[in-house]
Subunit: 591 residues, 2 copies
């Protein structure tokens, strides 16, 4: 049950052929990142994920975490795995070499991150957050702070967290009340934070908390928020760990899933903190971390769906039940058309999601490392546009796919020991943390579409139309894929035009249509990447490349997506065009 | 959190105005079932559900059940609630008066059943199964058996179960191996059964198991299955409970949800059994029970969604977070358009599902009680057509809606103590037991559409077209609802015609398209009932009836369904028309 085989072949294909590794490979600093190196790294990571990390998944779910004497205790096996992970240098794989990382592309970092997430989602959250925190400090921290903590964080000797939420301040960070008071060359931070993932644990000797708080006299709302690095234990001048810093874990939550990941209530009481970035610009600094974290959480949707798929597929091949057309005697259930429909729907959407997430990862590498300012800006515009889509669409889709994975098992799926239920429970957090789907959808509509009058979206559409041209030239074999993509793209264009034309007349429209527009864009962009994949696969097949089975399956997968998933685009479009009137009609009492 | 207020007003509206209580009221035996009586019964049931049953829901989830000394122990509070339930005569509310029931319409029975299910799904399964078992014995049992067990079962003094599944025989009942050997005027039953809901408990002194088994020499497959009533404890000649009958509970499953419902592994060893119906006709007898049970499980989808909706709605009215267009200061989240979208999508689909389930319940009353043979057959054809739709579509939709209910709570939704997670976990069984969605979809396509060449479906469509005519006559106010219904109905017609035209050419087509066709039919029939509801509501409003708020909300709800849910019909149609080729293309190794 805990077996997991990383889909390294598909990952390599996406990295190489869709996210255009060869372009990234040309960027300064990434000259070593050849396809061969990527393949070798994926292979090594796959081994660690499958043989070391994956076997700890169930015990994390069963044992969970607990607070003992003011300290969170995680399963002992987690610590052993973590040691092996940081000794292999995996913690800093995509961090720059100057601060002790491996200096590999973020794109490759995403692929190996998917493996950790599939292997043990709960455990993987610890390095994910640590890397995000290190990145925020690297970008915005003072040199003093960097020299104090960064090397240890990148190496994974210390971990990091994000401390945003307070009981009254969830999606609404303007309501944050935690306080910071200047003290010498630093600050003293006081407040209570909730829902802090890996807020405390016993795997490392220190934890660096990134905490949003207000300095007295700061403006109200989000413009008065500053960001502080607050270590669990104080750090001596020589970098060693000193006294406890009055950072206390109050409790861990009793959750639906990710039981192996301690979700903490944290109390800070006059805890020594270091300002990160400028005063009152904390939110912007946090967003450095949050954009990566949002891509990472979107990727969790891919990863947990992949794991659920593998379990369901293996069960479907083994479980004998009933008879099927064209087969004599009882058959394994993979021969039943409706079971195949379920597996195909998982397979094609997982591949689509993976492609979109990695392609955005590739854009991010170029947005950071392309020497040309204008190209960098263009790449960043695409990253900005699609980050909420990766987060929102991949995680929403993961709800459906982990549910289908459970369904394939019939009654056994409902029994916890089978394992399908854990993936279903674990997946459920992904549409919530790092900004709910509502928040992603508002980000997409407000900041990423309306703010530039749809320009970044238009550029996306013209890239999709380029693929349409390629499909037109590729002959009849891919005509179903082409018509599906065209239909989806038209629905996207019409919906965005509708939004641009109507949003000023009614302030409720952006919010009311945002979810459907996000799902529409995800569906279309997913289909676009599957169409690109089918084009590449056709080329490989025409050239007589090896792995014929893989490329044929890729084309079938793209066909299934075009036939059974892309038609949702029209439904989303219709929902968008219905606007806000009906949604907003009822009085509170009428609900 | 455990508060539950039965939506008695909506229930009464559906019973009276959509399921046409006035027609049922004319049938022999149901003359007393007036709208006033229905209202009074609903009110009494709502009180029991809200004040007595609902408060036991969380403790059932937390305490679960266990086996002690060969006996399942359920939470003590369940037994107290059960006593109160049977003392009120609720166990036999829709059973005929001759056998000790209340003799009320099945339609009314459904409504009160929805209340028990919303209040505590786990607990409600016990009376649900007992009533089904009693119904099978009433219909197919010998007079001797009936006089031995029926009165006690209808009164609820003893409960009943369905024992179908064995480890190798889930959806595939042909593989059942349990044996029955003639012994005097009865049989001795031996075998192991799994997934037996409420297979044992300590609420009553006896449990009557309905067990599928083979008598030696019986034909292979489902045509060799016979049905036996096997009591947990033997029954003496005077009806009192005698010695243990070698029916043992081996264990209870550790499940994702419905923790308060013991899911048992049962062992029968030479246990005394009574044949029900003819030898080797066991499956047909079991289906008597199963059709009711399937409607009942479909209703569970409605009930658990309703409970999830109430929790989410109340949270959305209370939780203050962020700012919304047109409001000054921070607002409760129900003012955010995307939260409203979530609540509206729950509300309108719950109302649609309830309407469809109850309307089928009304047809079932007429199918059993109409004095006219032809009308009875017509009503039964509609029941047969829509039973798999109610089971499959309502439970699949419940997965989405309980998930949305959790989402409305943001991070709090993922914390178990909030309660939203329990509904999400509990709901997950409903697409699995009493026949998975795959089985329902195959039943719909094979037995209910292809077998009669689409006739029952055509009759459904012509009834939908009648509603279209009424909408056309009702003026512009309902034009959006009308166009939604027309579009959905066209998609249904086209899809069924496609199936009829193509299924013979490819034996995989029925299975490959079945799920999408089931969801399509559910979506359209749900929209049809919402359109009928809007017509009725308009009439009430035009006549100046009280409850203006309720009727206005009903029309808005129907509009939202037409705008945001009905467009899915086109997507399902497209998936149906894609047939089976892509679905069946991959080799096993390519998955």
């Amino acid at each position: 049950m805990s077996e997991y085989q990383a889909p390294a072949k598909d990952m390599l294909f996406v990295i190489r052929d869709l996210a255009e590794l060869s372009e990234i490979n040309k960027l300064p600093g990434f000259e070593d990142a050849t396809a061969d190196l990527v393949e070798a790294v994926l292979e090594e990571a796959a081994q660690l994920a499958g043989e070391v990390i994956a076997p700890t998944n169930v015990l994390g779910d069963v044992q969970g975490t607990r607070v003992e004497n003011g300290q969170v205790i995680v399963p002992r096996e987690f610590t052993a795995v973590y040691r092996q992970f940081i000794e292999g240098g995996w913690g800093g794989i995509a961090q720059s070499a100057e601060i002790g990382g491996q200096g590999l592309p973020y794109l490759l970092g995403l692929a190996v991150e998917e493996m950790w997430q599939s292997a043990n989602l709960s455990w993987s959250l610890c390095p994910l957050l640590s890397q995000g925190a290190a990145r925020a400090i690297e970008t915005h921290g003072t040199d003093a702070l960097k020299s104090l903590v960064l090397e240890k964080m990148v190496a994974g000797e210390w971990t990091g967290t994000m401390n945003l939420t307070e009981p009254q301040a969830g999606s609404d960070l303007a309501a944050v009340r935690s306080q910071a008071v200047p003290d010498g060359d630093g600050y003293r931070v006081t407040g209570q934070k909730i829902f802090i993932t890996w807020g405390d644990h016993d795997m490392t000797e220190n934890v660096i908390h990134l905490v949003l708080a207000r300095v007295s006299g700061a403006p109200e709302g989000v413009r008065g928020l500053s960001l502080f690095a607050v270590p669990k234990n104080q750090i001596n001048g020589d970098g060693s760990v000193g006294e406890h810093n009055n950072v206390t874990v109050v409790s861990v939550e009793h959750k639906l899933g990710i039981h192996g990941s301690p979700t903490c209530v944290m109390a800070f009481e006059d805890a020594r903190g270091y300002l990160i970035g400028e005063l009152n610009k904390g939110l912007a600094c946090m967003f450095t971390m949050m954009n990566h974290a949002r891509l990472g959480v979107g990727l969790e949707g891919v990863a947990i769906s992949e794991r659920a798929y593998q379990l369901a597929r293996d069960y479907a091949k083994e479980r004998v039940q009933g008879r099927a057309p064209g087969h004599s005697g009882r058959v394994s259930i993979i021969h039943h058309p409706d079971v195949r429909r379920m597996l195909m729907s998982m397979k094609c959407q997982i591949e689509a999601m993976r492609s979109v997430a990695y392609v955005v990862g590739g854009h991010l590498d170029r947005a950071h490392h392309d020497p040309d300012d204008k190209r960098r800006a263009g790449q960043m515009a695409r990253v900005d546009l699609l980050t909420p889509v990766v987060k929102g669409w991949c995680t929403e889709t993961a709800q459906l796919l982990t549910s289908v994975g459970l369904q394939v098992h019939g009654g056994m799926g409902y029994v916890e020991e089978t394992g399908a239920a854990q993936y279903f429970r674990d997946a459920r957090i992904t549409t919530i943390y790092e900004g709910t789907t509502s928040i992603q959808a508002l980000d997409l509509v407000g900041r990423k579409i309306l703010r530039d009058g749809g320009q970044a979206c238009n550029e996306l559409v013209s890239d999709i139309r380029e693929t349409d041209k390629e499909l037109a030239q590729s002959g009849d074999a891919l005509s179903g894929i082409r018509s599906g993509l065209k239909e989806g793209c038209d629905a996207l264009v019409t919906s965005v035009e509708w939004l641009l034309a109507n949003h000023e007349a009614d302030a409720n429209i952006p919010g009311a249509v945002s979810f459907n527009l996000l799902m529409l864009m995800g569906t279309v962009v997913g289909g676009w990447q599957m169409a690109r994949a089918a084009l590449k696969a056709s080329e490989y097949l025409a050239s007589g490349a090896p792995d014929k089975d893989f490329y044929e399956a890729k084309i079938i997968s793209a066909c299934f997506y075009a036939e059974q998933i892309m038609p949702l685009a029209g439904a989303y479009q219709r929902a968008v065009e219905s606007g806000s009137a009906t949604t907003m009609s009822l009085s509170e009492d009428q609900f």
